[in-house]
Symmetry: C2
Subunit: 193 residues, 2 copies
DNA sequence: GTCTATATCGGGATAGAC
DNA sequence: GTCTATCCCGATATAGAC
């Protein structure tokens, strides 16, 4: 890994931990072991370096999600695998957390990777849902895009609840809850049903 | 409104807009119109002032949510009213956004109001859900606490998706999606059902 | 209670040597 | 390409006058 790469990786970690406003060039230099000169040689400044880091993180998230959502299995199995995949819940989502960063949201360039990633994710989930519907696994009355948004939001909001509680439990509950709602067995417990 | 109150209100606004790390005492002074001396007379420093602001915001959120969830109407109607209540989606949640602030999460005192608020909210939603179940409006097979967590997470995650998109649309979709999942009509479109 | 002055530190970047 | 020196500003707080 060359110097530019180490700078990007250190920036990714710090953006994840502390956000854009909370990340200083000095902290990046210390973590990466690079010198000030190197940083300003490879990147024009903090924003430029953050852009490279954000793009890489978004790309990686997309790859991970796509692998799980494109795996073999039923629609519900793949969505379950995506929601239940191993993660360090208390760290939150490296992209989602940037959404609360005023300087990221204020910059069209820095916000773009966020918008593209979540836009792609909602569409990808909607496709899986529509697929499940065409196979009769999921209720045909559900709007795929709205359902997809609810699933993606459950994940992102699960991180919020977990961090507030300093425990992964609310995240697990939220995932369990939304999966139960998705399961076709979700119908009134009518006699003789 | 006296000086201390104006300081707290200005801090609330800034915490909402920029988070804890992104909020400086100087900005608070400018917005409130108070002087440096006043601030350090009434509060011991930035953290102390933030604590007062966070407590007040959490209290207010709780009051608002409780009013909607305790109103007359069926369980589903009250949950719908809560999810669809008027809000400036792109501003996000004043408490939820603090969850991404490392300095807030690192401080037990500052995190406590967040934990209490969301813990209360999940329980309150769970109570409403259980009530709906006992009246037969909601599927009895749902775990109230898990379902409540999913609903709360949908809201918080809806803000995340909306801010990434710079549009309230994903938030509205997520809310619509989770409400559709909650609606008992959510069952396989079986013939003769 | 509120004001102004002062102090220290870190953020963010530039300059020019090597 | 990388290093060190330097710069300016804002963050956060203290001191003491009024």
């Amino acid at each position: 890994m060359d110097t530019a790469d180490r700078l990007i990786e250190s920036t990714r970690e710090l953006l994840w931990e502390r956000g854009y406003v909370g990340t200083s060039p000095k902290a990046i230099l210390q973590r990466s072991g690079a010198g000030q000169g190197s940083m300003y040689h490879h990147f024009s400044g903090k924003a430029d370096l953050a852009l490279a880091a954000v793009r890489r993180s978004a790309e990686q998230m997309r790859t991970t999600a796509d692998a799980l959502l494109s795996a073999p299995g039923t629609a519900l199995e793949r969505i379950t695998a995506y929601l239940r995949r191993d993660r360090d819940v208390l760290r939150g989502c490296p992209i989602g957390r940037l959404t609360m960063d005023p300087d990221i949201i204020a910059s069209p360039e820095l916000r773009a990777p966020l918008e593209e990633l979540f836009s792609w994710l909602r569409q990808r989930l909607a496709d899986v849902i529509a697929e499940g519907q065409s196979h009769g696994e999921l209720g045909g009355h559900l709007d795929p895009l709205a359902t997809a948004a609810a699933i993606a939001a459950t994940l992102q909001g699960g991180y919020v609840l977990a961090r507030a509680a300093d425990s992964p439990e609310p995240f697990e509950h939220a995932v369990t809850g939304v999966l139960a709602l998705l399961t076709p067995a979700n119908r009134p417990a009518t006699e003789g049903d």
